[in-house]
């Protein structure tokens, strides 16, 4: 498991109050019965942890899997380390 994946699983588990063992890369937030307000909290915790800004509707957390979330975060982190990312307000 990549460290990003591990961190995201831990955040989802904490924010939604679900057993991390139940989360897989293929599960959607819908499968995990995560409500929209929990989803925005998960996004916030991920953004705050990595100091990144996830785009508003990409990935679409309602229909896409946790894999989409992990990949979006890994992509943003890669962009950030290559210096391509726009400065975020936290920076």
């Amino acid at each position: 498991m990549s460290s990003v994946q591990e961190t995201i699983f831990a955040i989802i588990s904490k924010e939604a109050g679900i057993d991390p063992g139940k989360i897989s890369l293929d599960s959607t937030l819908k499968d995990l019965e995560i409500q929209s307000l929990e989803a925005v909290q998960i996004i916030f915790e991920i953004e705050d942890h990595y100091k990144i800004t996830l785009p508003d509707r990409d990935p679409n957390f309602d229909t896409e899997s946790v894999r989409g979330l992990v990949e979006a975060v890994e992509r943003l982190l890669a962009e950030q380390s290559s210096g391509a990312a726009a400065p975020s307000p936290q920076a």
Binding site: S36, L37, V40
Partner: protein, 404 residues
Amino acid sequence: MRRVAITGMGAICALGHDAAATWAAMCAGRSAIGPISNIPTELLNIKVAAEVRGFDPLAHFDSRRLVLLDRVSQFALIAAREAVAQSGLDFGSDMRGERTACIIGTGIGGENSHNEQSSRFYGDKNPRLHPLTIVRVMANAPACHLGMEFGLTGPSFAVVSACASANHAMAQAFEMVRSGKVDFAVTGGTEACITVPTIKAWEAMRVTADDTCRPFCKQRRGMVLGEGAGVFVFEEYEHALARGATILAEFAGAGMSADAGDIVLPSETGAAKALSAALADAGLNKDDVGYINAHGTGTPANDPTESKAIRRVFGAHAGALCVSSTKSMHGHALGAAGAIELVAAIGALRDGIIPPTANFIDVDPECDLDYVPNVAREKPVRAALSNSFAFGGLNAVVAITRAS
């Protein structure tokens, strides 16, 4: 039971600085949503809002008065001056002020002052805050300033229920006039919370659109913040008739309910309950109603839920209703929304013109009513409803009828 007339109307919002300009813009289907110009935008991802533009507070208040007034109170006073002037009532004579309630809704209160002083404290590390911070920030300040300006010494307070604040406030004022507790009320809602931190907080919730507000459309991307105020004069009906006042409409009833479910997700049954209660309170049949000014925020959750609630209550008549969201033009003014939208409902009754839902592209298949896309429509209307459904699941629907 006593009846309640609306004899004065005032408004200020992105569409105009008075009720007449606001109504004219609504009829023209003109959206006032645009790039944010009153505050710095470099930290914002959402760079659009429906701001009150070209507004010079010093044109309305001298500097010594202004130091007491957050923008939220300035808006309320400007709308109230228009409403009171139109009513022709002098609250200073015949002990009228004593028989007048002043009930003003706001979702947030003095957010601009709160933000300025927080920024001074945390940002500038300046521990000395303005001595009038408390009285500018408090959510009851707009009601207090109206009371002081017009000498209203009856029941006066603020009503806070997020996006339903104005409708809840007007419902309360209506009950007081109807019951005989007072003979007049100055009531409505006001909001001024377009600040950088407030927008950042909305951004974090991921319910605001970055382009514009397209209620009931497949392409909608969320709500757009607005600001402003709407204030009305309510008066016991026979009193208004006896003095020959122009009765803009009859405030016929109100229906309120709480979902007691989710803090953000709206409930079809909760909304339907408030709609049914408003009809019953006003003594209206379903087919009396010709127009509903929808809550219509343009969020994914609100629009289908509200449409289903309307269909649930109105059944076969739902298809004959005109349902439009004027938030597509003046944005979502939160605690002022219901008051600005009552201007639309009154206009529909008086002029027989249904204001459109602007920025309309393709209808969402989940929304199956007549949303009056983009262009106003001529249609005589005898009764209208105006919906407000707040975060927290608090619902308030008001019913007005044409003056008879």
